[in-house]
Symmetry: C2
């Protein structure tokens, strides 16, 4: 198998690293998951170990790897390859690109995880115009991709619609505001509002709603109207052609996107203008376990500079 050129992409989440190897033809030729760990030293060690384990499993040599791209939560300085305030990983400030390159001798690039996933989703779904990737996980954020490039905006906050308030009488958000979209459809906020034990609280909410639990019915409505509000915000501001839904809540399967689609239809029932936008036809959900985030990280890793994937910085 010599002579292949491999790009590795890593999606580093709060608990797991999802790692993929991508060949010259943009095919995923290997994939594995491992713990992400806690703290700067451990996160770097696990990233390096994930690349080595992936090489072993997918039978390529480290010197066949052209680049490693890492998608990671928190503030990312893509030019410096630095991660700042990745709270869920215990990372305060980490020169990840430099440390990774030093240990593996491969060029590293780092990008915010949602932005990397947005690029991956756009390529996996073959979307060539404009799209937003709406990540419904513990939190809620979106990434925008236009003509194959990540839209970063002026300060890197493009797509942070999770913290747009849509209800002045809503729940208090972790960010300190009231009624943020994330309080309606973030997995963390829903789990707190539900307040009952269980490993998959949002699935429990949907199951309980289906047998008529009143609290669950209300929270299910919040989930769908929050995601619908996020979709509207993305289309009425950036007018993206497609909204692709990803993140942990895609584990809910068809119930998630059919619920969001129904909420969009209900909201549009009274408004010819909203109906003209056909939002229910502009959303699609990634399958649960999609490698979009790690695949997008591999694409980021292979870009020569942040400018190449950052058209509007």
């Amino acid at each position: 198998m010599s002579g292949r050129r491999i790009r590795v992409g890593l999606d580093v989440g709060g608990t797991k690293i999802d790692a993929v190897a991508v060949d010259d033809a943009d095919e995923i030729v290997g994939r594995l998951r491992r713990e992400s760990g806690w703290g700067e030293r451990e996160v770097v060690a696990n990233i390096v170990a994930a690349v080595r384990a992936l090489a072993h499993e997918a039978e390529f040599e480290i010197d066949e790897v052209d680049s490693v791209g890492v998608g990671i939560p928190g503030l990312v300085d893509a030019d410096a390859g630095r991660v700042i305030h990745a709270v869920n990983l215990g990372v305060e400030s980490l020169d990840l690109a430099d440390l990774g390159r030093a240990q593996l001798g491969i060029a590293f690039r780092v990008e915010n995880d949602v932005k990397a996933a947005a690029l991956g989703a756009a390529v996996l779904r073959g979307i060539t115009g404009s799209m937003a990737y709406l990540n419904l996980g513990t939190g809620v954020a979106a990434g925008i991709v236009v003509d194959g490039r990540i839209w970063r905006g002026s300060h890197g906050t493009a797509g942070e619609i999770g913290h747009l308030s849509v209800d002045p009488n809503g729940r208090v958000c972790g960010c300190g505001q009231v009624g943020c979209i994330e309080t309606l459809c973030g997995g963390g906020a829903l789990a707190r509002a539900w307040g009952r034990p269980g490993s998959l609280p949002v699935r429990d909410i949907l199951d309980a709603a289906e047998i008529g639990d009143a609290d669950a019915v209300a929270l299910r409505a919040d989930l769908f109207r929050g995601a619908a509000a996020a979709t509207r915000a993305l289309v009425l501001s950036a007018d993206v052609e497609r909204v692709v839904i990803g993140g942990g809540l895609t584990a809910l399967g068809d119930r998630l996107d059919s619920g969001i689609r129904e909420a969009l239809r209900q909201d549009a029932a009274t408004s010819a203008f909203m109906r003209s936008l056909r939002l229910d036809e502009r959303i699609e959900a990634l399958p649960a376990g999609s490698p979009a985030a790690a695949f997008g990280a591999a694409l980021v890793g292979a870009s020569e500079s942040s400018k190449e994937i950052v058209s509007h910085g």
Copy 2:
């Protein structure tokens, strides 16, 4: 004065046309206002008459005019030079570029008025990165300009944040939804909610609020929180560097932008994330009577194709 090359720009509003002549150095060398009229025939006649009157007043010949650009409300098909559903002008469907060219022998281009104003405001204010122009008039809409080009989005609805709902218990909007940003800070919605006679209802609201009228105090708060919500929506989605406020409500002067700035500060008081965005420092208001819209139309008119000013269609 022969040898000059002139670009004419027209901002066609519901009651008035604002017309400017722009020379080779991007200087405004003439300006006049006249009635816009009602119905397709009258609107075209008044546009043609405005160009002729401007030539007379600013002392240039029609054959010195390279291009005419028209900013007009409603749906605009920029490639076809056609206006559709300009309700306030009594226009259903109008091939404005063809009719104008036939009567004056000059190339015409047509653009949505808010998008043209956004381009004009960006150039007049010397903003080279990303910006949104937030038009607070009878209605509320924004235009986004990135690197000197109008961001149209996939269906021309980029910047339509007036119809983003931010309060499920708010007032019913003309669009049929509830709690749209436009119900809070649109001049038309505020006038209807105020319900008292007067030629400048929003000014009356601010004046009455200053002497303690309770209805006026509530509506003034709506105005400022609505415009603050619009600013947040533009920054949290497209992450524009600047938000420039224009439109009829700029006649309120400093009270408008200081009120919006204060609302942004209050909203951020509980949220470190929102404070980090420094939204109060990212807004600025155009002076009342700014020629931004007509000037932007002149720039649109001189572009060779819609693609030149439409980077992301």
